[in-house]
């Protein structure tokens, strides 16, 4: 998802009996759905894993501004322009909430930014694909935000208080994001033949990357078990992916668009769709930095940060000066 490859630092699951008293009390709280707050005792692994997960999530929101941001200046009507701008602005806000949640665990936003800009930290693979047409903005809202919401709704119940509260705020604000995307797709699907083609092309390009957003198959995601025991991951990757496919296929049908998967078939027995093989080779290449837009995305963030340094420094200098003047006057 927005945090696709979080390496958990737990060393395999311990039973309650194997834990020392502090850790046992901690786990029992989690099992009883009592939230963990920043200053309380927590295993080092829990703290580190959470920092990674929340900061990856935050980085994804920030980098996620870029592919859609491309189209703010080209949005085709005044209303579409305002809606898209408001949405991309929300993403900046969500990144901000999440960075703040991570900061309660003893890392600064500057440190996290440094990890992102140096390439050390990860962000969601999905944002390394290009947005080529206006329909991509529809497809991102519909599919990418749809997938994100599916992941974020359960995290509202996660065990760490600040993360859970940030997610509640994010989910409340994001409720319009997926709808605006689907609304764009509806207009295009009902529009001119070129517009319909544009919509189909966008679905073709964004479908598989959206399925990859949920992360590697359960069999390969070795860190899930500990994260689920800690309730910082609430569902497995495959569960959420299946749910997403089942929800989205009928929406594509309503639009009169074809999901680009020849193996897609309703399976009566499991009450869900069977779907084709995901190209995990492509996924891992992107995570390694070899996606179509990795360099551009990181480059844009590096540029914004270094171009903005004088602004941050200048304002800090003013505040210090004014404080000094005040003290001198007293």
């Amino acid at each position: 998802m927005y945090a696709q490859e979080v390496k958990s630092t737990g060393k395999g699951l311990k039973t309650l009996e194997e834990m020392d008293p502090e850790e046992r009390a901690f786990q029992e709280k989690i099992d009883a759905n009592i939230k963990i707050e920043p200053k309380e005792w927590m295993p080092e692994g829990y703290r580190k894993t959470l920092i990674r997960q929340i900061s990856q999530h935050a980085h994804s929101e920030i980098v996620g501004q870029l592919p859609e941001g491309n189209w703010i200046t080209r949005a085709p009507t005044l209303d579409r322009k305002a809606i898209l701008l408001a949405k991309v602005q929300d993403e900046a806000g969500h990144g901000l909430y999440l960075y703040c949640a991570a900061e309660t665990l003893g890392i600064s936003r500057d440190q996290m930014t440094e990890q992102l800009l140096s390439g050390k930290a990860k962000y969601s693979s999905i944002f390394n694909y290009p947005t080529l047409t206006w329909a991509d903005i529809g497809a991102i809202g519909w599919l990418v935000d749809g997938a994100a919401i599916m992941n974020q709704v359960p995290i509202q119940r996660c065990s760490f208080g600040p993360y859970s509260r940030a997610m509640i705020r994010v989910c409340k604000e994001e409720s319009f994001h997926q709808r605006q995307g689907y609304d764009i797709m509806m207009v295009l699907a009902k529009g001119t033949p070129e517009q319909k083609e544009m919509a189909q092309d966008a679905l073709n390009r964004w479908w598989w990357p959206s399925l990859m957003m949920f992360g590697p198959p359960d069999a390969e995601s070795v860190h899930s078990v500990q994260s689920m025991a800690w309730k910082i991951k609430m569902n497995t990757n495959d569960e959420l992916r299946q749910k997403f496919v089942d929800q989205t296929v009928p929406q594509a049908e309503y639009l009169g668009l074809k999901v680009p998967d020849d193996d897609l078939k309703w399976n009566e027995e499991k009450d869900g769709y069977d779907f084709g093989e995901i190209d995990w080779g492509e996924f891992y290449e992107i995570l390694k930095g070899n996606g179509p837009c990795n360099k551009e995305r990181l480059g844009a963030r590096q540029k914004a940060w270094s171009d903005g340094e004088w602004f941050r420094e200048g304002l800090m200098a003013y505040s210090k000066k004014r404080k000094a003047r005040k003290v001198a006057a007293e």
Binding site: Q65, R74, A82, L96, V187, G191, Q195, G308, G314, Y318
Partner: protein, 251 residues
């Protein structure tokens, strides 16, 4: 002057908001810090909303069954009526902020006066926009003072921005026949009064910001009558691309 002065005036006010909102919105995702990214987007959103109000009024007055979108997306450079100041490029963030300040310092007293316009339609739009403009000016004033009086680099950047942009401020308060016709009907304020207010306000703020107003031998004028600087053509090419490429399509 050709045609209805109220129509012309609505285009001028609307195009100012549209062009400035459009330019500012390009910062979204690229601003110096997250808090600022969000704050500037709020200003852009306000301006785009105001553009829609003014251009809807223009469309209605034109009476050709057009929408605000038709007006925004299907006119060429020579038909745009925004002032030269707002179409100046984003430049560095200092230039974007200075442009905003120099505009806001005019925009707020204009809208404040327009609330009392004898033309009900004008006063309605002004009424809806004036609170937003007040916040914009408060914000841009604050940032200009802080960055001007910040450190050496921030002062240098703000000073360069002021130097580049000051020559476009004269147009804001230079009346032409449209302004005069509206003033006679008390539909719009006397621009000389706005000019006095503008001068006093910008001088006070720029002094506090330790910035020096440059000597300008000639103010640049022309946007209000459709004679623009070269940048506007590029801005429109980008903004209008979809509407131009797929004529008649709905979005």
């Amino acid at each position: 002057m050709t045609g209805d002065p109220v129509f012309e005036f609505a285009l001028r006010m609307g195009d100012n908001c549209l062009v400035l909102g459009q330019s500012n919105s390009a910062w979204c995702g690229h601003a110096p810090i997250l808090e600022e990214d969000i704050a500037l987007a709020n200003v852009s959103l306000d301006l785009i909303g105001q553009a829609k109000l003014w251009l809807s009024l223009a469309a209605e007055l034109q009476g050709e069954d057009k929408s605000a979108d038709d007006i925004a997306f299907l006119r060429d450079v020579r038909e745009f009526r925004n002032c030269l100041l707002v179409e100046q490029p984003n430049g560095d963030y200092a230039q974007t902020l200075m442009r905003q300040f120099l505009f806001d310092a005019w925009h707020l007293p204009m809208l404040t006066a327009l609330v009392r316009s004898t033309n009900v339609r004008i006063s309605e739009v002004a009424e809806k926009s004036v609170k937003e403009a007040a916040y914009h000016l408060e914000r841009s004033t604050d940032l200009v003072i802080r960055l001007g009086d910040g450190n050496d680099e921030s002062r240098d950047r703000m000073q360069s921005a002021l130097k580049a942009l000051w020559r476009f401020t004269g147009e804001l308060t230079t009346p032409d026949d449209v302004d005069q016709a509206l003033q006679e009907d008390q539909a719009a304020p006397d621009l000389d009064e706005i000019a006095a207010h503008y001068e006093q306000y910008t001088q006070r703020v720029l002094r506090e910001a330790t910035l020096v107003i440059p000597d300008v031998s000639g103010m640049q004028i022309g946007g209000k009558s459709g004679l623009h600087t070269e940048g506007l053509g590029f801005l429109l090419a980008e903004m209008q691309s979809l509407q131009r490429m797929y004529p008649g399509a709905s979005w």
